[in-house]
């Protein structure tokens, strides 16, 4: 029912039409069927009774003349009535005289209970109509006819009617459905149009919308009424709207004023707190919140003294809030200097503040407003400028400034010291008085560069002091800007470098002298070396000749020399042999420099040490020496240099051994990016007195007792220095020696990597 109630009128109409149609049809169909079945029964009864009459009449002769065949034929003509189940003719003694039974029917002639006219006539039994009729001849009953007629016809008719009603119902429903669209247009059309207008009005609030009058009936009157109502609403609405707009505008205006005031206060650069007349906070802007380290919600409503605590910066005594004073005295109060605000978290902020009363239009105090600002930056700027001033004042350098016209605007003590002019004398004067007359042009050049914004650093020139002295100075000149960022002058830092310039001059002169003497020395040295090389090389030839002939002499005249002669010749041979060794060493010594042109190669020092061991095998075996070494690195160098180096050092260690068998160890370590080698022994040691001399050519500490040319350590030194290294010895007499040398930057890989 709810469903139907909420349906649109269109569907309601359709539903009503359809249901009324259906109900009418069903009822009339039912009535027709019932009436028909009643009427039909009567008609059928009459019809069958008439039929019985005819059959009975036609059977009289057959009965009268004992002719059942003819009677059966007569009954057989009843086949034309398909609903006739059976027809029977009985003799007066209730025996069957003739009968007809519908083919296929199970029916039989009903037994005739008793003879009597009370059973005659038609009656309905169950599913059949039983008609019983006497057969009389001249008023005498000569037999009885019984017809059994089934009622299928009634059911058939009912079914037929039912189907007809159903078909009509369907057709009429269709017609009703089609009609309903037309009906909708008549009834639902204006209603939904009105409903649409209503909905449109309520949705858009456009009261100028009017419903269309589509008919002159009640719906048309409804539309008219609706339109009249809308007209009234429209006029009321427009008035209301006007009033509302005016009110809104006024409200907005006051809101804007309030907002702009609040925005002004909120965005003002200073902290602002306003209170009511009792000193309770009613407004606090964001800067005040951040300075107090307190959110707005925590502040508003509190008394100002709870949130705004100030002390004197020096005495630390609590200062009365200016608001109290304002409320008491009703006037604007500025705060004393050196006030420090203590924020919620204990932070101290130096502030300036002032308080003022807020008065209503009658002049009564409504509240106060407190304005304060963080003066930390200003304080710091003040301190910085004081510090800068003291730095400037105490600087040894002259620091001064000029305007663009060159007039001095500041002059520090350094300037007074250096130039002799006091600040009093200089400020207001042109700076040109410290420029020598031949450098005035320079001043104007500098001034124009500064005017263009350029900064000039370490500009060296000569300036004049008060007493006419000329000073070498280095100037750093920077443009100075006024508060509008325009170049207004120049600041100058002037350093007196007169002494430095003089010292530099002296040094340059000394260096030049040294250079010259070095060049002379080098030339001399080269000549000497060339000479030594040539000498040692060229001397070998005559020496070989002496040796050859001395030996030839001994071989040619064996045993012919007397004792002394034999000794002399032996001395000659010894002398030439030593001479040859000496020359060979000298040649090797000089050659170390001469092989510079050859390309470097990889030199494995471990292999070099092995060679040295083989070379010295005889003396090692003889002395029982033991030579050990660390794992040594691979070098990029000339191989021919390192064999003499190690052979001389190790050979010396064996040669100058103590009573014990020599123990010699070659070690290496990396110190400060260079390789430091050590060849240590347990030999006789060297007195520190000779530690320098032993590296000189031909310098020998021992006489003939220990053979040697005096060139070995010189070769070592030369090899090491050839690679940029140093060689030295650490030793004491009788305590063994350690020969150190360094080789920078030539290791291909370190000994450790090699492992």
């Amino acid at each position: 029912m709810h469903l139907f109630r909420d349906m649109p009128i269109k569907q309601k109409l359709l539903g009503i039409i359809m249901s009324v149609t259906a109900a009418a049809l069903l009822l009339s169909g039912l009535g027709i069927v019932i009436a028909d079945s009643v009427l039909f029964r009567t008609a059928m009864q009459r019809d069958i009774s008439a039929l019985a009459q005819i059959v009975a009449d036609n059977s009289i002769a057959a009965l009268a003349f004992e002719d059942p065949k003819t009677a059966t034929e007569t009954l057989g003509s009843l086949r034309a009535r398909p609903h006739l189940v059976a027809a029977c003719i009985y003799r007066p003694n209730r025996a069957i005289f003739a009968r007809y039974v519908r083919s296929g029917a199970a029916g039989e002639c009903p037994p005739v209970s008793a003879q009597g006219s009370q059973e005659d006539g038609a009656r309905f039994t169950g599913a059949a109509l039983l008609v019983r009729r006497p057969i009389a001849l001249n008023g005498r009953r000569i037999g009885t006819l019984v017809l059994l007629y089934d009622l299928d016809e009634i059911a058939e008719r009912a079914r037929l009617y039912g189907q007809t009603v159903l078909v009509i119902l369907l057709v009429s429903s269709l017609i009703a459905f089609l009609l309903s669209s037309w009906l909708r247009a008549i009834i639902a059309g204006p209603i939904s149009q009105l409903a649409n207008a209503t909905r449109l009005v309520s949705e858009t609030r456009d009261y100028s919308i009017r419903a269309q009058k589509l008919s002159g009936d009640e719906l048309g009157a409804l539309a008219d009424g609706f339109n009249v109502m809308l007209t009234q609403i429209q006029s009321q609405d427009s008035e209301l709207r006007k009033a509302l707009l005016a009110q809104e505008a006024a409200l907005r205006e006051s809101q804007e004023v309030r907002d702009s005031l609040r925005t002004t206060l909120a965005s003002i650069g200073d902290a602002v707190i306003s209170t009511d007349a009792r000193g309770r906070v009613v407004f606090v802007n964001s800067i005040a919140q951040s300075m107090l380290r307190w959110a707005e919600a925590g502040i508003v409503g509190k008394h100002l003294d709870e949130v705004f605590q100030i002390v004197n910066e020096f005495s630390r005594v609590k200062v009365e809030s200016p608001i109290a004073q304002v409320l008491r005295e009703g006037r604007i109060v500025g705060m004393a200097n050196h006030t420090v605000l203590i924020a919620k978290d204990g932070t101290e902020i130096p502030i300036d503040d002032s308080g003022a009363p807020i008065r209503d239009e009658h002049g009564a105090i409504q509240g106060t407003v407190l304005v304060f600002r963080d003066v930390t930056a200003r304080r710091r700027a003040d301190e910085t400028s004081r510090l800068l001033a003291s730095i400037v004042q105490s600087s040894d350098d002259a620091i001064y400034s000029t305007d663009l016209a060159g007039v001095v605007t500041s002059w520090n003590r350094g300037a007074e010291r250096i130039f002799g002019f006091s600040a009093k004398e200089m400020i207001g004067q042109s700076i040109s008085i410290v420029y020598p007359s031949d450098r005035q042009q320079e001043l104007s050049g500098v001034t124009s560069r500064i005017g263009a914004g350029e900064r000039i650093e370490h500009y060296q020139t000569i300036l004049r002091t008060q007493n006419g002295e000329f000073l070498n100075v280095s100037l750093t000149i920077s443009p100075m800007q006024d508060p509008l960022a325009r170049i207004a002058g120049a600041s100058v830092v002037c350093r007196n470098i007169t002494e430095q310039v003089r010292a530099a001059d002296r040094l340059a002169r000394l260096n030049a002298d040294l250079q010259r003497s070095n060049e002379v020395l080098a030339l001399t040295n080269q000549d000497l070396e060339r000479f030594a090389f040539i000498a040692s090389h060229d001397l070998q030839e005559p020496l070989r000749m002496i040796t050859a002939y001395s030996q030839l002499l001994i071989k040619s005249y064996p045993g012919e020399f007397s004792g002394d002669a034999s000794v002399f010749v032996g001395n000659i041979v010894d002398g030439t042999t030593r001479m040859r060794e000496l020359l060979s060493d000298l040649l090797a010594y000089t050659e170390i420099r001469s092989r510079d042109q050859q390309p470097a190669e990889a030199v494995d020092l471990n292999v070099v040490i092995d060679h040295v061991r083989q070379n010295l095998k005889a003396s090692m075996d003889e002395s029982g020496a033991e030579v050990t070494s660390d794992r040594l690195p691979l070098l990029r160098a000339h191989g021919s240099h390192f064999e003499p180096l190690f052979q001389n050092l190790i050979g010396n260690a064996i040669k100058y051994r103590s009573a014990q068998p020599p123990r010699i160890h070659v070690s290496v370590q990396e110190v400060d990016g260079e390789l430091r080698f050590a060849v240590s022994d347990n030999g006789i040691g060297i007195d520190p007195e000779y530690h320098q001399q032993i590296f000189e050519v031909f310098r020998r500490l021992h006489g003939r007792a220990i053979p040697g040319t005096g060139v070995g350590l010189a070769i070592c030194q030369r090899v090491v220095e050839r690679y940029g290294g140093r060689i030295w010895v650490e030793s004491k007499a009788g305590q063994g020696s350690v020969f150190w040398f360094t080789l920078p930057h030539i290791a291909v890989r370190s000994a450790k990597e090699d492992e």
């Binding site: 002769a61 009268a64 004992e66 003799r91 001849l137």
Partner: protein
């Protein structure tokens, strides 16, 4: 009353309601006592019934109240049966009566003439008849002799043939119902 006919105490009813058993006529079976054979009891009933399916011309009766006479010519085979059957019967207000005659002309008052087997000159008898007499005889030859209705035995049952031309000649109208149950109808 015929005491031999014990099964049917009411002779009047017997004529109209012939028992089925009576239809089976045993020809030539000897009659018991003075009672005629079953065949003639049936024929008697038929005679009566014929009167109800036949219309005589008005000239056949002297007046409306004149009796309808069934005349028997020759030897009466019915005994008392016919008399008992027609007793009290009337057709269209004409009381039924039975008249017997041995010879001589048939009187004008006869509306039904039964010609018994005993008669030899059937043709002559019939030729002498005036109109308005329903003639009933036995055997098919009776029709050939000019009779209207002839009893015949068929399947041991009593049937009859009708000669319509003879009926028309006698100005007698025979109901179609009667003709329907006749064995054959000669046109």
């Amino acid at each position: 009353m015929n005491p031999g006919f014990r099964q049917r105490p009411c002779r009047a009813l017997f004529a109209a309601l012939l028992p089925a058993a009576a239809l089976l006529v045993t020809l030539g079976s000897p009659a018991r006592g003075d009672e005629p054979p079953l065949e003639y009891q049936v024929k008697a009933a038929f005679l009566l019934n014929f009167t109800k399916f036949v219309q005589w011309p008005p000239s056949a009766f002297a007046d409306d109240r004149a009796p309808l006479a069934i005349c028997i010519r020759g030897e009466d085979p019915f005994g008392n049966t016919l008399d008992e059957i027609v007793k009290g019967e009337a057709v269209n207000g004409h009381e039924l009566v039975v008249q017997r005659m041995a010879r001589g002309p048939v009187p004008k008052t006869c509306q039904v003439l039964f010609v018994a087997k005993s008669e030899k000159e059937v043709q002559r008898i019939l030729a002498d008849l005036g109109p308005g007499v329903l003639t009933v005889g036995e055997g098919e030859k009776f029709i050939q002799d000019g009779g209207i209705i002839a009893f015949v035995i068929e399947d041991r049952r009593v049937r009859f043939d009708i000669a319509q031309s003879a009926a028309a000649k006698a100005r007698i109208t025979i109901s179609s119902r009667l003709m329907m149950v006749a064995r054959s109808v000669e046109k």
